[in-house]
Structure formats: C-alpha cells, structure tokens
C-alpha cells in the first residue's frame, strides 16, 4: 500500500493525542493526584491540539474534502463513518471537560465527563485501527494485533507526553514514568506480534496466489495440464495507473529493515532506556517524547508500505 503521508501523520498525531487524553482522564479519576491542577488542563489542551492536527491532516487525504461532511451517515457498516461520528462527539465533550478542569470544578459532572472522554478516546482509537483491520484484501492488517498495536502505541506516546507534563508543570513524574514504561513494553510486544504475524502469514498456507486470482484451479490452464504456474505476461498499460500507484508500492528490503530499526530505536529503545535512568527534566522528557513520535512515524509508514493488497496478484505478484 502507498503510505500517504497525511494518513501516517494523522494516525500518529491523533493516536498520541487520544492516548494522552484517555490517560489524563483516567488520572483525573484516580484518587491520588498524578498531575497538578496547572498540568492537567494544559495536557488536555495539548491532546486536543494533537487530535485536531491529525484529523485536519486526514482531511488532506480526501480527493474531494467538500463532501467530508457526508461521512457521518453510514455508522451501521463503516468504521470510517463511526470514527467521524466519535470524533464529532469527542470535541465538544472534551472542550466542556477542559473548561471544568480549568476551573478546577469538583463534583459528579467532572467525573462523568472524564469517563465519557476516556471512553470516546478509546472508541476513536479502536475505530481508526478497525478501518485497517477490517479490510479483507490486506491480509497483514486482518489480525487482532492491528487494534492492539494502535491502542497501545497511542497510549505509549501519550504517556511520554504526560511524563513531560508532570515534570514541567508539577505532578508525579516517577509514577508517570512507570505507567509509560509499562505501556511502552506492552506496545513493543504488540508491534513485534504484528510483525511476526505478518512474516508468518506471508509464507503461510492461507496466502493467496496469482493462480488462485485468475482461476487456474477452476480450469484456466493449458489442456491436459492439471497444475500450472501463472505469471503476468503483459499488464495492458505502459505507464503507472491508479492501481499500481496505490497498491503496487514496493519498498526495498534493506530500506524496510533500516526503517524498522529506526522505529525500534527511536520509538521504543531510546525512550524506554531514558525512562529507566533517574531524574527528569521537562525539556529532556519532551525531546524524548518527540523522538518517540518520530520513531512511530517510521513505524506507521512501514505499516502501510509493508502491507500487500490482493490487487498485486493481478499485477504479477506470485503471492500476497
């Protein structure tokens, strides 16, 4: 799949924002104050900015954004529609919540808002992941690892931002560091699980072949031959098409490995190691969070670049 930069940025930025928002709401529900009254509203504002920037970027992906308002009507079947509806619900609620937190209001309303905002953030993250995990033609994505990785990576990058908030504006940076480390480890497991699943699936029995795609088992073969291999002879066009641009994206193996290394180092290894070392300064915490987000951009770019769509069989790939 072609890694559209607008979508790569959208999923990473919104993911971090939603993870941060969910964590802040949970922290607000926690009886022990994990963030100072100064840090919490600032955190919510940062989270909303990240989510808004991501959603704005996702609109850039649309070829006809003037029709984007129509995307709310098919919630019954479309994960993209569900995502749009949840996003539209999240913003007003989160804004009211931000106001409540800013005025440090106590009471049931704030608790209720925190629960609602957290649930909406989780729902939104899950919808984004399910857009990809529900697509049958892309086998690498059709696994529980996809939503697991999206949810955990969002919370992992959000937790790193929370560490920076707690160090800068007051709170419990050590507690946040523990939360972040646990989420980081879980996210790493989910991503490694996703990659393992993809590697195992590629050679697996259920992988589709070019022969299946053009009906060799159903009789599309030379007379008197029972088993035959097929190959593309001519694609019928001399230049790129929408299909080759969108689906027949190829990435050199060494580039993929270099990017995977960068994703692992920047996205996981360096932030986790930094969390293991003692005292924290807000500037260092923020730099590490930004570094992790850069690593996740590489990870997300690979998520698309590595995925192989069934259409590639018709363009000559031997297997999906």
């Amino acid at each position: 799949m072609k890694p559209a930069l607008s979508i790569v940025f959208f999923t990473v930025a919104s993911g971090a924002g939603l993870g941060l928002l969910a964590l802040l709401a949970l922290a607000d529900l926690c009886p022990v104050p994990l963030l100072s009254p100064a840090a919490l509203p600032r955190g919510i504002a940062v989270a909303l900015l990240l989510i808004a920037a991501g959603l704005a970027s996702s609109v850039l992906h649309l070829a006809k954004p003037s029709n984007a308002w129509r995307a709310f009507v098919r919630v019954r079947t479309s994960w993209l529609s569900r995502e749009a509806v949840l996003a539209a619900l999240l913003f007003p609620l989160a804004f009211v919540y931000l106001v409540a937190v800013s005025f440090d209001s106590a009471g049931m309303a704030r608790v209720l808002l925190a629960i609602l905002v957290c649930a909406l953030a989780w729902g939104l993250l899950f919808c984004t992941a399910m857009i990809y995990a529900s697509l049958k033609p892309i086998r690498q994505w059709r696994t529980g690892w996809t939503p697991a990785a999206y949810l955990l990576l969002g919370h992992w990058s959000g937790a790193l931002l929370a560490v920076a908030l707690a160090s800068g504006y007051g709170g419990e940076p050590m507690a946040w560091a523990w939360v972040a480390a646990a989420l980081g480890a879980a996210a790493l497991v989910a991503k490694l699980g996703y990659w393992r699943h993809g590697a195992a699936d590629r050679g697996g029995k259920s992988a589709l072949t070019i022969e299946q795609a053009i009906g060799v088992p159903q009789g599309v073969r030379p007379p008197g031959v029972s088993v035959a291999q097929a190959r593309l002879f001519d694609a019928g066009h001399t230049q790129r098409t929408f299909l080759t641009d969108e689906f027949v994206f190829r990435i050199a193996r060494q580039h993929a490995q270099a990017l995977r290394g960068a994703a692992l180092a920047l996205g996981f290894a360096i932030p986790l190691l930094w969390l293991a070392t003692g005292p924290r300064h807000w500037a260092a915490a923020l730099s590490v969070a930004v570094l992790a987000l850069v690593g996740l951009l590489a990870e997300r770019w690979l998520f698309f670049a590595d995925a192989r769509h069934t259409v590639r069989l018709y363009h000559g790939d031997a297997r999906t």
């Binding site: 995307a71 098919r74 079947t77 049958k136 030379p222 001519d234 259409v311």
Partner: protein, 231 residues
C-alpha cells in the same frame, strides 16, 4: 436480480476493444463521466479506466497458454466497497449493480482498498471514485433498439467473448452457458460472492494427424472443398 457479465477466456483474444469501448461510452456518460486522462499526449500517459485487460502465461512451454483476462467490477453480492463507504456514495441497487453516487463521494479511497479485484479507480480531476456501471444508462434506455440495450463492452467484443444478463434467472443465457461450461467467480476464498463469471478455456479438439490426412486423401480432395464451392 443479479445483473452481471459472463466473460469467455476461451475466445477472448485480448484486443482491448471492450476496454476502449467502455472508456468511450462512460467517459461521456452522465452516470460517472468524465473518465479523466492525465498527460494523454505526454511522456507518461495515464488515466482512469473501468475495464482493464491483462495478459497471463499459464504453464511452462510447450505446455503453456496465454490467457487474456479482462477485469471490471464484478458487482459482488457481498460488496465490501459498499459497506466501508462512510458517505453512502457507494451503493448496490436492487438489480445488483454497484454504483458510486458522484455527488456524494469524498474521494477517501477506502472502497478501492476494500476491493480485492482493483475494480475502482480514483479520478484525480473530479476527486471521486469511478467504477463500472454495467452501462446502466444503456441497458435501460428504451429509446435504444432492444438488441442494443447491453453494456458497451459486450457490444464491442469482436469474438463475442462477453455476455450480459441476469444470473438470478436460471434460464437466462448467461446462467445456462455458465452452468454448461463451468463458469467461476474470482477469489471465492475472500467471500465477496462476485456476480460476474469467467468461462475457462475449452479442451481443444485434437489436430488432424498423419493418419487423418491419409484418410482424407483417400476420400479424395473433393471432400475438402466447401459445399458452397461445390455447388
């Protein structure tokens, strides 16, 4: 109703007439037109097509065969392109035709991602998704003579390798021929239940060998002459 195409891989010669006829009709159609071209006279001409013909080699020489393989929307019964569409622009009609409402499409590409067959192409100039309409503006046009109420690709095919009809009706020509010749749908593994059917190549009749040639000579060359000439 399950309107669709029956494509004969035995007689298709891969001439691309169906694809160009499709482009010609639908490019000027109000249902999904225009079908934009990018740099049509430049170094890298490209554009939107609703029907593409690819060519495959199956088996190894000398036991190999070239298969010409036209592909357009298969009008699946279980069409994921319709269910993933967030705007409701993609829809399936009661007669089985899957269409894109060009006024509602926002060009998010998700339907193209959900289609395993590559049947949908985004038109960069209109920003909307384009796909085979089964020439819905031909097949119901009562001003056309009945024999012309067929998709442009079917009308254009010089070897009659394409047939159009209702697969829901077991007595229709497409259902009958498909049953007779082992018509199959593409990638049943994915569960989209495509309506369009493909006919595998026939087993060829054995070529006349040396013995056959001798027998022919014995019967006299006259028997080879066409009845028309003899008369």
């Amino acid at each position: 109703m399950k309107l669709g195409l029956l494509i004969d891989l035995d007689t298709c010669v891969g001439c691309h007439a169906c694809a160009t006829a499709c482009k010609e009709w639908n490019g000027a159609s109000s249902v999904s037109g225009p079908l934009s071209d990018y740099q049509p006279f430049g170094a890298e001409p490209s554009g939107v097509w609703l029907n593409r013909v690819r060519h495959y080699e199956v088996g190894d020489y000398p036991a190999s065969k070239t298969i010409n393989f036209p592909m357009s929307c298969l009008h699946c019964e279980d069409a994921d392109c319709v269910s993933v569409c967030p705007t409701g622009a993609s829809y399936k009609r009661a007669d089985g035709i899957v269409l894109v409402d060009q006024d509602k499409c926002m060009g998010c590409n998700l339907c193209a991602w959900a289609c395993p067959y590559g049947a949908r192409e985004l038109d960069q100039s209109t920003g909307t998704m384009k796909k085979c309409t089964l020439c819905v503006d031909r097949i119901y046009d009562v001003l056309l003579p009945p024999e012309d109420r067929q998709p442009a690709c079917v009308m254009a095919c010089p070897t009659h390798a394409r047939m159009f009809g209702d697969f829901d009706d077991p007595h229709s020509e497409v259902s009958r021929v498909s049953a007779e010749r082992g018509g199959f749908g593409l990638l049943p593994e994915l569960g989209y239940a495509p309506v369009n059917r493909y006919l595998p190549p026939r087993e060829p009749k054995p070529l006349p060998g040396v013995d056959d040639a001798r027998a022919l000579l014995e019967r006299g060359l006259a028997s080879l002459a066409s009845p028309v000439i003899r008369r």
